[in-house]
Symmetry: C2
Subunit: 159 residues, 2 copies
């Protein structure tokens, strides 16, 4: 295993462990609990779930792996704060979307060869990438892993 493969394993171990932790938590919560706020006046659990799906959908674009699965969630869960959009999908529907997205992304990720993780993502130009080789596809996994942990720390407060 060379150092590039070692780093891929390090980053994906974090990504997968973070998803596992979030999923264990999500499965332990009822739909009623998802409708509660994480703290008085703050985001609801259901908003955080929709937000994570929308953010992970953007990863598919950044990684040049096809189209978003749930483009309709962007407006309510990224552009808008919680409780400002009245018509959002039910908790049950978001759970199914999340679960499907996790599976689809897992399959997309498995198709990439190790070297491809160090190629540029779609938000950086070829010119900039020469000077900034850290702006690669693996870095997208890394930044979204920290993002997922940030919200998992909030999600756990619903328990």
């Amino acid at each position: 295993m060379n150092s590039n493969q070692t780093l891929i394993k390090m980053v994906f171990d974090r990504w997968n462990a973070s998803l596992d932790r979030f999923n264990t938590l999500l499965n332990s919560l009822t739909d009623e609990q998802l409708l509660k706020e994480i703290a008085p006046g703050k985001n609801r659990g259901i908003y955080l779930l929709g937000h994570l799906i929308a953010v992970h959908d953007d990863m598919v674009i950044l990684l040049n792996m096809g189209d978003k699965l749930y483009p309709g969630l962007h407006k309510a869960f990224i552009e808008s704060p919680d409780k400002s959009v009245t018509e959002i999908p039910a908790a049950k529907e978001l759970r199914a979307s999340w679960s499907n997205q996790c599976e689809v992304m897992k399959q997309l990720f498995e198709k990439l060869q190790p070297g491809q993780w160090f190629e540029k993502h779609t938000a950086v130009s070829a010119e900039d990438f020469i000077k900034e080789p850290h702006r690669n596809k693996l870095n997208i996994i890394l930044t979204r892993t920290t993002h997922l942990n940030y919200h998992t720390g909030q999600f756990v407060l619903l328990k």
Copy 2:
């Protein structure tokens, strides 16, 4: 920049950005706000601050970089849940410890050569490390970056 240096930059960019985000937040909170719970019945801000110092102190040991700066915090902030230990340092003191620790660790990290980040940390045996090269020093930075983000997501609720 060779690939090891790129990998190190990816992880340290996350570590440093996560510390910056936490510090901006910490500096925006009063000592009174730190004494509040992040949500009703949950940990207080001051406990999370002490917990982060204690966890980062363990990194010094795992990275084989000397002794802990604040070993006395382990009992109250890792072994014990919040509000079970009555005598804990004042917010002002913890702020100073955190700030000093961030500076000391920054200086320790700068002393390491790129290749050294891919050497084993102290919690893995030389024998296991041959089979599991991802259990290196850089991985300690990565796992504590996700840990820091988890608690930053909670800390922001004090605002």
